[in-house]
Amino acid sequence: MTRALFQLLYFVRSAIAGLRGSPLPTGVSILTIAVATIPLGGLWVVTGNMRALLDQFGSELQLTAFLEPSVRSDEGRSLAAKASAIPGVERVEFVSQEQALERFRTRLGGSALVDALEANPLPASLMVALAPEARTPERVAAVSEALHQIPGVEDVAGGETWIEGYGRALRLVRSAGIGLGSVLALATLLIVANTIRLAVYARRDELEILSLVGASRTYVRVPFLLEGIVQGAIGGLCGVALLYAIFQLAVPQLRDALELFLGWSDPAFLSARNVGILVAGGAGFGFAGAAVAALRTRLT
């Protein structure tokens, strides 16, 4: 085995000894990261669910291309095929004049008013559903313009206003998430750095001795960085576990309110991938906190 490998083994053993040898500062660091992970993860759960909700609303969004009265049903179907080829269009449904009237009648609950009509006043139309990536004001305008260009299309309606609101809401959720997340992340980093710095301070005698017997700065600091990573990962994991417990307790209480106001009552927890990112983030915070603490510790 090489000398470098022995040093690596030393770093790992030293980090483990450090974690076991100072349980109080280690516990405080883990707790700090765990507590800090909860609001960060909570924010992620909320913004994730808001996005899912908005996407769900967005998937119901569609444009309606009204066709000229002269367009026959078979021509309408061919126009539907043309509309399907427009970039950003997910699917197109042709609705004939008869189908439109039938839907109108159904919506009115079989009204005598409809039966009294001498002729069908409703135009045939194309119901155009948009792909998720096309649900932006610019893309909707482009699809609308392309539909207008198809011969036989008289008018295009719907969607722009809603889509603008949808886009704004999505941007707001995203910006709030990034803004709040950044503030929380910075606060977490400072708290973790100071907590780990206290742990480093508690072991300053050991650091001084290592320095006196010829340990390089890197040699003295690497075990602390490893400890920071381990503390951060454990803290992140504990934080996610606590957040999951809070989620499980809170969702049944909120279900009725969600159903009432949003028509939606099935919020999701973080995906396994996002849990992994949060734990890795905790490890990253631990590392960064330890690095800040180690760099600010003066050695003899």
Partner: protein, 245 residues
């Protein structure tokens, strides 16, 4: 402070000679403008010498020691230790220097959370010595200082003399060219003082160059080695071995 021993003991025969391992050229150190901890000190110490550095409190003994293991930088002058100019050695060079210079302090400076064996082993660990080799060398060193049976104890369970022997074992286990001992017996009684000093003198007889800072004149007389005396930061006496301090 220990009681004065009854008579001088010559100690092991020194093998001093050859090129100086430590050289100071007009070295001064001031912490505040006009206040010198050391002033214009020039001295040479040859390989294998055991030298006592004496003087009252505040004479500059500890400052001189700190300059030699690069814990401080001189304000003026040059310091050569093992051929390196300590005044100019870079940050990366300091650990390399310290691996060849063992240091012992009055307050032992042991790691409280580690065992005796682990405390001694840190000197070998920092240079990447394979664990099996390190264990063997640590055991041999602890045997030399008479503490092999306490190797699994923690410092708090040891007496002051035992703790200083552990500190000495840690400083010597890497067979350094130079040993710096700053008041190594300052916290020990007369009997333990002799015990520790005999171990230090033994290291000198094996060729280690040793500088012992002490204000215990009885100790200086007993070992009858070269004495450098500081007062108010100035070198006021440099007596060869055998002369009365």
């Amino acid at each position: 402070m220990s009681a004065a021993p009854a008579a001088r003991v010559p100690g092991p025969t020194p093998r001093a000679g050859g090129d100086p391992l430590i050289r100071l050229f007009h070295v001064s150190k001031s912490y505040a403008a006009g206040q010198f901890a050391l002033r214009d000190v020039s001295v040479e110490i040859k390989k294998g010498e055991l030298v006592f550095l004496t003087g009252p409190s505040g004479a500059g003994k500890t400052t001189l020691m700190k300059l030699l293991f690069a814990a401080e930088r001189p304000s003026e002058g040059q310091i050569l230790v093992l051929g390196r100019n300590v005044a100019r050695v870079g940050e990366a060079g300091i650990p390399r220097l310290r691996r060849r210079v063992g240091v012992v302090f009055q307050d032992f400076k042991l790691i409280a959370t580690r065992t005796v064996e682990e405390n001694v082993a840190v000197t070998l660990e920092v240079i990447g010595t394979p664990p099996r080799e390190a264990r063997a060398r640590v055991f041999a060193m602890l045997k030399r200082v008479g503490l092999q049976h306490r190797r699994h104890a923690r410092p708090a369970a040891l007496s002051g003399g035992e703790q200083q022997r552990v500190a000495l074992a840690r400083a010597l286990v890497n067979e350094p060219a130079i040993l710096l001992a700053d008041e190594p017996t300052g916290n020990l009684d007369a009997e333990l003082t002799v015990e520790i000093m005999d171990l230090i003198a033994g290291a000198a007889s094996r060729g280690t160059t040793i500088l012992v800072a002490t204000h215990d004149l009885a100790l200086v007389q007993k070992y009858a080695r070269r004495v450098i005396r500081l007062e108010g930061g100035r070198l006021v006496e440099d007596l060869p071995g055998g002369a009365t301090a």
